[in-house]
Amino acid sequence: MSELSELYQQVILDHNKKPRNFRKLETANHKAEGYNPLCGDQLTVYLSLENDAVRDIAFEGSGCAISKAAASMMTQAVKGKSKQEAEKLFTEFHRMVTGELNEELEANSLGNLRIFAGVRDFPVRVKCASLPWHTMLAALQNKGTISTE
């Protein structure tokens, strides 16, 4: 099951079990909801934006291990970043999981998010990993509710 261990690595399983920043953010001034109607993953991303930077970020919701771990690690990566940096991270992450970006060869700022590279071998699960990111982007850009379909 070596491909499976690419997808369900210890780090991902850990973030699923103990998701970071998993709470409602009372000081949020931006928020968005994301929903994958095919499998029932749903989450809310809360942002506290100050001077175009993400001062704080948190999420709530229910979903599969991939979506929960992706959300957890997303909040860690985005916290403290500027709006532009967060949007750049979104593009790089999205390109990585859809197989467009080779995270080993092409320069990027993904850091430990590269652990989700394995998702591109599981096309059905790409939406699980990218849903939190789409939701975060929607929160940044004040888009309200988004759906993968």
Partner: protein, 430 residues
């Protein structure tokens, strides 16, 4: 896998899984499996364990061949041609309708309308019967365990006509509360639509009794037979249902095939579903008159090859012995339920006394999506999601379930593989 092996009697068989124990109750599942070419492949390096029959079933070689022969030798458009091929095609198509009639014991073949599946069949009834006979203030009864195909058309009708949907509740085992059903029936009830077997829970409903109850109020009943026709004999006269819909692709026939049965006297009174060629008697720009049964409900060129395939699938089912097939399937479900419910942290969703084919389950803290992906890595095909039955998921307070659904070509060994892989899933997540 897929090696050729010798059986004890010296016959060669192709096996996709490890050699089975001696066949029980006379059901030679290994021989049956050789009829289904798709089963003999590996997925992610493991033998395919196909447990997603509730979503769609596999097709035996004879049915594939029948469809190919049609396209190779017989094809032409049906019904109006004077030439030889058109007559051959029409004979084959109408011959399939005759087979369906016998399969469900309809009184006449013209009561069997070809559609592309149960969903289309139910929509046909909603448009042809519902929109003509149901009005403001009327009530339509459905059950809490319906597939969206037997919910949404009625919701659309209720919205259009300002009618009301009433829902028969179920208990925690997934059994309909028949007292509540009795209480829902009243003078305003104009239609009942109920599933024979639940695709999410596996519950077999006592539809014969429910039909009789509705008929006391003069209320017609539609039965969604998508999950029953593949697994048990259906006698529409014995059930006395007014409509019965089922899908060919769930009973070993090609996609695009299916039937909605209706009693002739009801079908005669209904409006057509789609307008176009074949469903008319005469057309002028001033007035058009409609054809008789069944053509009134079959506008345009049908999926001829697929419906002929449905006829061939019926022949195949009759040839293998449906009673023994059902006994084997029941044993599979019983064994699977026993093995899977013994695993800690696993909860079976749908524990009715009377069930068919379906084993839905959840695991504490592990999302069905993750279960399904890990099972898939071991070659096991199950469905993870809401199974087009979101109200059922809400009733049982789960976002989704993982569902294994069995057919007569599944084996006990496949159940063992399912159970041990579920244990592996739990291990990975602990």
């Amino acid at each position: 896998m897929g090696a050729t092996e010798m059986t004890m009697t010296g016959e060669k068989t192709l096996t996709g899984t490890s050699r089975a124990a001696a066949p029980s109750n006379g059901w030679d599942v290994e021989r049956i499996r050789t009829d289904f070419p798709v089963l003999h492949q590996t997925v992610n390096g493991k033998p395919l364990v196909y447990l997603d029959n509730g979503a769609s079933s596999q097709v035996p070689q004879v049915v594939i061949d029948r469809g190919s022969i049609y396209l190779e030798q017989e094809h032409s458009n049906i019904h109006r041609g004077v030439h030889y091929l058109s007559q051959r095609a029409t004979t084959a198509y109408e011959g399939a309708r005759e087979k369906v009639k016998r399969f469900i014991n309809a009184r006449e073949a013209k009561e069997c309308i070809f559609v592309r599946g149960a969903t289309e069949g139910i929509n046909l009834v909603m448009h042809g019967y519902g929109r003509k006979f149901i009005g403001a203030g009327d009530e339509i009864i459905i059950s809490a365990m319906e597939h969206h195909a037997n919910i949404v058309p009625w919701q659309m009708l209720c919205e259009e006509k300002d009618a009301h949907l009433r829902v028969i509740p179920m208990n925690d085992a997934g059994e309909l509360l028949l007292d509540e059903y009795d209480a829902l029936l009243n003078g305003r009830t104009k239609f009942v639509a109920v599933t024979h077997v639940s695709n999410a829970l596996g519950t077999v409903n006592p539809v014969k009794e429910m039909i009789a109850q509705a008929h006391k109020y003069g209320v017609p009943v539609l039965i969604d037979g998508a999950q029953s026709a593949p697994h048990m004999p259906v006698d529409v006269q014995d059930l006395d249902c007014d409509f019965y819909a089922f899908s060919g692709h769930k009973m070993y026939a090609p996609t695009g095939s299916g039937i909605v049965y209706g009693k002739a006297e009801i079908l005669e009174r209904m409006n057509p579903f789609q307008g176009g060629g074949d469903m008319i008697k005469s057309v002028t720009f001033e007035k058009t008159t409609y054809a008789g049964l069944p053509n009134k409900f079959e506008a345009g060129t049908p999926a001829i090859a697929s419906q002929i395939g449905l006829g061939a699938a019926i022949d195949y089912l009759n040839s293998i012995g449906r009673e023994q097939a059902a006994v084997h399937e029941h044993e599979l479900l019983r064994y699977a339920t026993e093995r899977v419910s013994a695993i800690e942290r696993v909860r079976i969703i749908g524990t009715a006394r009377d069930k068919a084919s379906v084993l839905s389950f959840v695991i504490d803290d592990i999302h069905p999506h993750d279960i399904g992906t890990i099972l898939d890595q071991e070659g096991i095909a199950v469905r993870a999601g809401h199974h087009c039955a979101q109200p059922v998921m809400q009733r049982f307070n789960v976002p989704a379930t993982a569902r294994a659904s069995f057919a007569f070509y599944n084996t006990k060994e496949e159940v063992d593989i399912l159970a041990s892989t579920i244990e592996k899933v739990i291990e990975i997540f602990s």
